[in-house]
């Protein structure tokens, strides 16, 4: 029996599932560094986060929307991984449950599920937790590569936190934060490989870049967003640094610390919440870069990546409306 169908009669191998699987694979190196650094606590956080994201998605789809389950499209797993990456390893399990609820139910399913949400779900979860539980969200562990049951919790500042408080540290007010000391800033190499405190998935630039290269090779993402995002942050902090010679603007430290690389490679490239066209993506990335720098330098928080991406997420539909590819045959003479 011959079948008939309309053209085309062949299709690219890469379908939605393949893309999602590739993103999971690309996140693994950073997950390994996180577990290596922070031991069992990190592993528990990652597993809890993934499991609860998948659970929330299953429950909403099956019992609220009464539709066939969508959990095997891997997207909830990615949200779970990314959420865990944006959490400190020490976070209590019940907070993860709340965070994942916000991510999946409020951030994603309330908009209609995969492909329809406006904001990056993992960031919705993170920012909600960050605002609700600022203390637990800023407790960092020291990395320890020798002790899997590492319980060496350090409260206080990450690299960016230290930078933020440098000029205030001479005054008495900031003493409550401990005494931020420039000497506590890890050297570039340790920041690059990830031997530093911070959220589980953001510490190792190396691991994240490896994942990014994998995504580029697999054509899951294009280079535009990471390049323009990281590039603009680097450029603006360099300008500030050159103008003021102040270490708090050191461009390389800014590039390597905080969630910037994680955000630029994995969260600002999320398909659903970013513009569709290359032109739009570049504008989106530049916007993220500028907002990140502004928040880091002048905002109340030491870190600006999550807010920057969420704000630009809100602009994505607008960018799509005004910046699209030039249609063939409409070139101005």
């Amino acid at each position: 029996m011959l079948k008939v169908s309309t053209a085309p009669h062949m299709f690219a191998k890469q379908d939605t599932n393949a893309i999602m699987k590739d993103v999971v694979i690309a996140l693994l190196p950073a997950a390994c560094v996180g577990i290596f650094n922070f031991g069992l606590t990190a592993l528990i956080t990652i597993i809890t986060s993934i499991a609860s994201c998948v659970m929330w998605e299953y429950l909403t789809v099956r019992y609220l929307l009464k539709k066939p389950s969508t959990i095997n499209d891997y997207s909830a797993i990615i949200t779970g991984l990314l959420l865990a990456f944006n959490l400190p390893a020490t976070i209590p399990v019940w907070m993860i449950l709340i965070g994942s609820f916000m991510a999946i139910v409020v951030g994603k399913m309330a908009f209609g599920g995969l492909g329809k949400n406006v904001f990056n779900p993992a960031l919705v979860g993170r920012v909600f937790l960050f605002i609700s539980f600022p203390v637990q969200m800023t407790m960092w562990m020291k990395p320890n590569w020798h002790d899997f049951f590492n319980r060496d919790i350090q409260t206080g500042a990450t690299t960016l936190g230290i930078l933020k408080h440098i000029d205030a540290s001479s005054s008495a007010t900031s003493l409550t934060h401990g005494n931020p000391d420039i000497s506590q800033i890890p050297d570039y190499w340790h920041m690059f490989i990830g031997y530093t405190g911070g959220c589980i998935g953001e510490v190792s630039a190396l691991a994240l870049i490896l994942g990014g290269i994998y995504l580029l090779i697999k054509k899951v993402i294009t280079w535009h967003i990471p390049f323009y995002y990281l590039g603009s942050v680097f450029l603006f902090s360099s300008l500030m640094w050159l103008a003021t010679q102040d270490i708090k603007f050191d461009p390389i430290t800014h590039l390597l610390s905080g969630g910037l690389i994680l955000g630029a490679i994995f969260m600002a490239t999320d398909y659903t919440t970013t513009p569709m066209t290359t032109k739009g993506k570049i504008i989106f990335a530049l916007g993220c870069g500028i907002l990140t720098v502004i928040i880091r330098f002048y905002g109340a928080y030491p870190e600006g990546v999550s807010f920057a991406i969420l704000i630009m997420n809100a602009f994505s539909p607008l960018i799509d409306k005004f910046y699209y590819t030039r249609v063939y045959g409409t070139r101005k003479k």
Binding site: M1, L2, K3, V4, S5, T6, A7, P8, H9, M10, F11, A12, Q14, D15, T16, A18, I19, D73, G113, L114, G115, K116, T222, Y271, T272, T274, P275, M276, T277, T278, K281, Y324, T325, R326, V327, Y328, G329, T330, R331
Partner: protein, 440 residues
């Protein structure tokens, strides 16, 4: 340096398994079925009656108006039926059925293999010969070539592009033609140059056809005004608009024709047919057809008489079994699947593909993930995902504002979409709806 178009494009696997295999004469089937409309425009007027004896090259039907083309017999024998017969499209079309007897050609046709280089002096003589031979665009659409030849006075053509790009996977009919009939094609280009008073003809060949590039480049050294340009192997490089932008950097404005920007594009098959028509008085009654596909046992490019049933070719390639899920007439990207293998090869059939289910099955669509891949792949710079959304909601004004009518139906978007949304179907529907509305 290889040339290419700037917007979009995809790189499907090429599967050019027949490119090294010399073409073979498919021979004579028992019956041929010759449709009177193998071109865009009005069907030709039938001149023969049931019972008439015809020879190879006998005029069967006469062009009706300017946008029409003559149809000739491809075999000698007896007309046994003139009626509505099922075509490859599945629709019934008016066809002339001829029972093949012997293989005798009309006397005026020069069947020798000798190369003729003496181009007729006057353009009118050339036009008449092309018209009489029923030449149509053989790249796909089947525009009767004479309309491309009768160009309004105010349009100045300065470049003739000969399309030797075969960007659809599997197909190698143009490739084999270029390798086997290289000099004829170059002379055909000279004829068209003369006809339009053009100094510059460019034969565009994609980069993976090394042999064709080599042979034709060597020949063009001896001919002034014909040159080869190598283009990147990318789909849809052979699309008329994409080829023009690759070669000249010009763009055909929306709703205009290539001649409006001084370009004329002809497929290599058409140019070869022009050579045969003008130099050999030979009407267009045979063409190269590739039979291939992942389920084809012995893939092969054939020289086929027009009207030969598709099954006649498939049988020579080992037939097909139950593992063959689809038979495609044309390429896998733009061709149509057929259910009726008795349907005939026409002037525009470039290939017959036997495809497996794994390769050709329609994947189940899921929700759009807004990946933007369809936008990046569209060679017309359109936003296929939006065309999909607007078509679903029947928003005609919006469809128009995003230039849905400029879609060339290349299928890049539907090929690439990871959510497997049938974007090409939406595009086609959108174009039909827009046309209907315009008609009102």
């Amino acid at each position: 340096m290889t040339k290419t178009f700037s917007l979009g494009g995809i790189f499907p696997k090429k599967y050019k398994i027949t490119s090294e295999i010399p073409s073979k004469d498919a021979g004579l089937p028992e019956y041929v079925y010759i449709p009177v409309k193998q071109h865009i425009g009005t069907p030709a007027k039938i001149l023969v009656n049931k019972g008439d004896k015809v020879k190879v090259g006998t005029l069967l039907a006469d062009a009706d108006g300017v946008i029409s083309a003559d149809v000739h017999s491809s075999v000698s024998g007896e007309v046994i039926r003139i009626d509505e017969t099922e075509a490859a499209s599945g629709y019934f079309e008016n066809m002339i059925t001829i029972k093949v007897q012997g293989d005798e050609a009309e006397d005026y046709i020069d069947l020798s293999q000798t190369l003729c280089k003496e181009i007729p002096e006057t353009p009118q003589e050339i036009i008449d010969k092309i018209r009489k031979a029923g030449v149509v665009g053989m790249g796909g659409a089947g525009y009767p070539t004479p309309i491309k030849d009768t160009i309004p006075q105010d349009k100045k053509i300065d470049i003739l592009i000969i399309n030797g790009i075969e960007c659809e996977p599997w197909l190698t009919s143009d490739d084999r033609l270029m390798v086997e009939k290289a000099e004829e094609i170059v002379i055909g280009a000279k004829i068209l140059n003369k006809l339009f008073g053009i100094q510059n003809a460019i034969i565009a060949i994609d980069e993976n056809k090394l042999k064709a590039i080599d042979i034709i480049s060597n020949i063009t050294k001896r001919y002034v005004g014909v040159n080869v340009r190598v283009c990147k192997t990318k789909y849809p490089q052979g699309g008329e608009k994409q080829l023009i932008s690759a070669i000249t950097g010009r763009e055909v404005p929306s709703g205009k024709l290539p001649m409006d920007i001084g370009c004329l594009v002809q497929n290599v098959g058409t140019v070869f047919a022009v050579y045969e028509a003008v130099m050999k008085n030979k009407p267009l009654y045979e063409r190269y057809v590739t039979v291939s596909g992942d389920m084809c046992k012995t893939p092969q490019t054939f020289k086929v008489r027009i009207g030969t049933p598709i099954s006649f070719l498939i049988d020579q390639c080992g037939g097909y079994d139950e593992k063959t899920a689809q038979i495609i007439l044309g390429g896998p990207m733009m061709g149509n699947s057929i259910i009726h293998t008795q349907a005939p090869i026409t002037k525009t059939s470039s290939g017959v593909l036997l495809l497996s289910n794994e390769l050709s099955k329609r994947p189940t669509p899921t929700d759009c993930i807004r990946c933007g891949k369809c936008v990046d792949s569209c060679p017309m710079g359109l936003r296929p995902y939006l065309i999909g959304i607007y078509t679903r909601n029947n928003l005609l004004e919006e469809l128009k504002s995003i230039h849905a009518q400029d879609c060339i139906e290349c299928g890049c978007c539907a090929y690439i979409c990871p959510a497997r949304i049938p974007l090409l179907d939406f595009c086609k529907l959108a174009k039909i709806e827009l046309k209907n509305k315009q008609g009102k």
